[in-house]
């Protein structure tokens, strides 16, 4: 079994090493910067969230449907949770995108994983945003309030 070995110094570069289509624009720089800035903001948001939910007042025992409903009646917490949702989702998505770029070896694998990732991100962000703004603890269907026990009859 013999293989033909190309003559050295022919200046050829194995095709898989050739960089195709240089990306102009600053997307990677902005993504890098976003990771750092959102990370700092998320530390404040998440520890604030944990502190208010788990430590203040009755702490963890106070958490139920009514607790969440009460929080989202306040525009401040709506804003807090919305910011947290968006930043955490984008931060996490960008992190996983980076991991896919670093570890997926084939372009087709990369494309598939990213499609799944972006779809999941869009669904969660849209759904989460919708819930934060349209959350109604006492829905009334056909004039009949749904049972729950949290709402004034």
């Amino acid at each position: 079994m013999s293989a033909t070995i190309e003559s050295p110094r022919s200046g050829r570069i194995a095709p898989q090493y050739r960089r195709t289509g240089g990306s102009r624009g600053n997307f990677e720089m902005i993504a890098w910067l976003f990771m750092r800035l959102s990370g700092v903001v998320l530390v404040v948001l998440i520890f604030g969230h944990l502190f208010v939910n788990l430590l203040v007042g009755e702490g963890i025992h106070a958490i139920d449907f009514g607790f969440v409903a009460g929080k989202w009646a306040d525009p401040f917490w709506q804003f807090w949770d919305l910011t947290m949702l968006w930043l955490a989702m984008l931060h996490g998505t960008n992190g996983v995108r980076t991991i896919i770029n670093d570890y997926a070896e084939k372009d087709s694998t990369r494309r598939w994983l990213k499609t799944v990732l972006y779809s999941a991100t869009v669904v969660i962000i849209v759904l989460g945003t919708l819930v934060i703004f349209t959350f109604n603890p006492c829905p009334v269907v056909d004039g009949v309030p749904l049972p729950g026990g949290f709402c004034p009859a």
Partner: protein, 260 residues
């Protein structure tokens, strides 16, 4: 390696053990070398060699002993053999080092010493890899002085402080130990790699150079500095002790401060 020819008698009497009078201790090493020969097989295999080496010997000496006395087909690169030319970067016991700067006595000789080609570049034979992709990235960052001013009659003067700014990155010998230790480079070989960034850094921060902006624009590519994950493999691998990761971070900051 037995010294048959006697040294001429020294004119100065030295007691044994002083000034090189003592005998150099010997020990046995088990060398395990990754072999690949595309003319024989597409599969790479491990070859074992048992050698008696001296306390002053380096991994390169062990490879020489194998090539010169046991198996002449063993292929590896080396030129100066003194840590300056950067030819003999290889993966010794899983770490990228120069074979000519790694003393056998500093390794764990109770276990086999593994020697592999550097990772991430196509292996050509045994320990020889195709360096062309590595040098292509190096060429792309324009590693030469570009000065748009008038040609001076003598030299281009620079203050000691300005020279100090990029002193660390002038030490690079292009051995590829850093680039081939980088996990991001291993995946697809698209990343410019630490070595190219280090050599760009050397000119970006040179006060005499006028093309820093061009180099920063090149490294702002999606395969440029932003793919660095600061795992510090490169700084650890560098046989010249260059703070590679720090240099990459400085280039990132330079791009950021230019854009914002």
């Amino acid at each position: 390696m037995t010294a048959e020819t006697a040294e001429p008698a020294s004119k100065i009497e030295l007691p044994a053990g002083v000034g090189g009078g003592g005998e150099i201790p010997t020990f046995d090493v088990h060398l395990r070398v990754r072999r690949y020969n595309p003319e024989v097989s597409e599969e790479a295999t491990w070859d074992d060699f048992h050698l008696t080496m001296y306390g002053t010997d380096r991994v390169l000496d062990a490879l020489h002993k194998v090539k010169w006395e046991t198996d002449g087909s063993l292929s590896f690169r080396r030129s100066c053999a003194h840590g300056v030319c950067g030819s003999d970067a290889m993966r010794i016991n899983g770490r990228n080092r120069l074979a000519c700067k790694t003393l056998l006595k500093d390794l764990d000789t109770s276990k086999p010493i593994t020697v592999e080609p550097i990772k991430g570049l196509p292996v050509e034979k045994d320990l020889i890899v195709d360096m062309e992709p590595f040098f292509q990235s190096y060429r792309e960052v324009m590693p030469f002085l570009i000065n748009k001013g008038h040609e001076p009659t003598k030299e281009r003067l620079q203050s000691a402080e300005d020279r100090e700014r990029f002193d660390d990155t002038t030490k690079c010998i292009l051995c590829a130990a850093c680039t081939s230790s980088c996990p991001v480079f291993w995946t697809d070989g698209q990343y410019f790699g630490p070595a190219a960034i280090v050599n760009a850094h050397r000119f970006i921060f040179d006060s005499r150079d006028d093309a820093g902006d061009m180099r920063l624009e090149i490294l702002n590519d999606k395969e440029g500095v932003w793919r660095c994950r600061t795992t510090f493999n490169c700084s650890e691998a560098c046989p010249r002790g260059i703070q590679v990761t720090q240099a990459i971070q400085e280039v990132k900051q330079a791009i950021l401060s230019r854009k914002i």
